[in-house]
């Protein structure tokens, strides 16, 4: 614990549901953004149908629901730049990295260079990532 009382823990948000069909995806995003205000070490994982949350070109005009996909672009501004996508889940769904939104963040230690936030990970890498966390929240 630091002198000012601040404790930084490693948080992983695990997202396994598609957007719109249930409220999980939107609620997860809300919690992530609220949590970001507490300056924790945040990572996001997208597994199973969760990978659909990051699909490009979402357009909800026809279903009368808010298209919340642009909000993922704001994560970089909240210093959330560790976004892990399960490669197997993506491949099973016939998708590649090009089908996902191009999420980026600006590296202030590198002249504000824009860098990609999304990393594709395999099962082993995902397992290691989970083991490194203090807290895992599942949606």
């Amino acid at each position: 614990m630091e002198e000012d009382g601040g404790v930084t823990k490693k948080f992983l948000y695990v997202n396994r549901r598609a957007p719109y069909g249930s409220i999980y995806a939107l609620e997860s995003l809300e919690v992530v953004l609220i949590g970001a205000a507490f300056e924790q070490d945040v990572s996001l994982a997208f597994i199973d149908d969760g990978v659909y949350q990051l699909k490009k070109s979402q357009s909800t005009d026809g279903i009368g629901m808010k298209n919340f996909s642009p909000t993922y672009n704001a994560l970089g501004d909240y210093d959330i730049n560790k976004i892990y996508v399960d490669k197997d889940s993506l491949e099973q769904r016939g998708l590649t990295l090009d089908d996902l939104m191009n999420l980026t963040w600006e590296d202030e230690n590198d002249n504000y260079a824009e860098k990609p936030s999304i990393s594709l990970v395999n099962s082993e890498e995902l397992a290691v990532l989970m083991e490194q966390q203090d807290i895992i929240l599942s949606f």
Partner: protein
């Protein structure tokens, strides 16, 4: 004739697989809400859909498909798109609706 509706992703539940196993020749299947992911090309369910279409008709609710970032280009060929009015027509044209929740 029966209209079978599937509203869950085939990766989340086995509703689509069970539906297509039990659907009878000439029946209609409608994929909507998260069920629309089953209508997209390149998933491990594509062959299953293509085979089912030899004996029954498969429809997808386009507003739900587009909401999820999918375009007509990525629709498995042979699947017909419907809008909300088309959904209602399917319900009235069939004698019953079997919802695969």
């Amino acid at each position: 004739m029966t209209l079978h509706t599937v509203n869950k992703s085939p990766f989340e539940t086995n509703s689509l697989e069970t539906c297509l196993r039990l659907v009878r020749s000439g029946h209609n299947v409608l994929l909507f809400e998260d069920g629309v992911y089953g209508a997209s090309k390149g998933t491990r369910f594509e062959a299953l859909l293509t085979e089912a279409m030899q004996s029954c008709k498969i429809h997808v609710l386009l507003p739900d498909f587009e909401a999820r970032g999918m375009s007509i280009d990525s629709l498995i060929s042979g699947i017909e798109t419907v809008d909300y009015a088309g959904f209602v027509n399917l319900v009235t044209e069939n004698e019953r609706v079997q919802a695969w929740l």
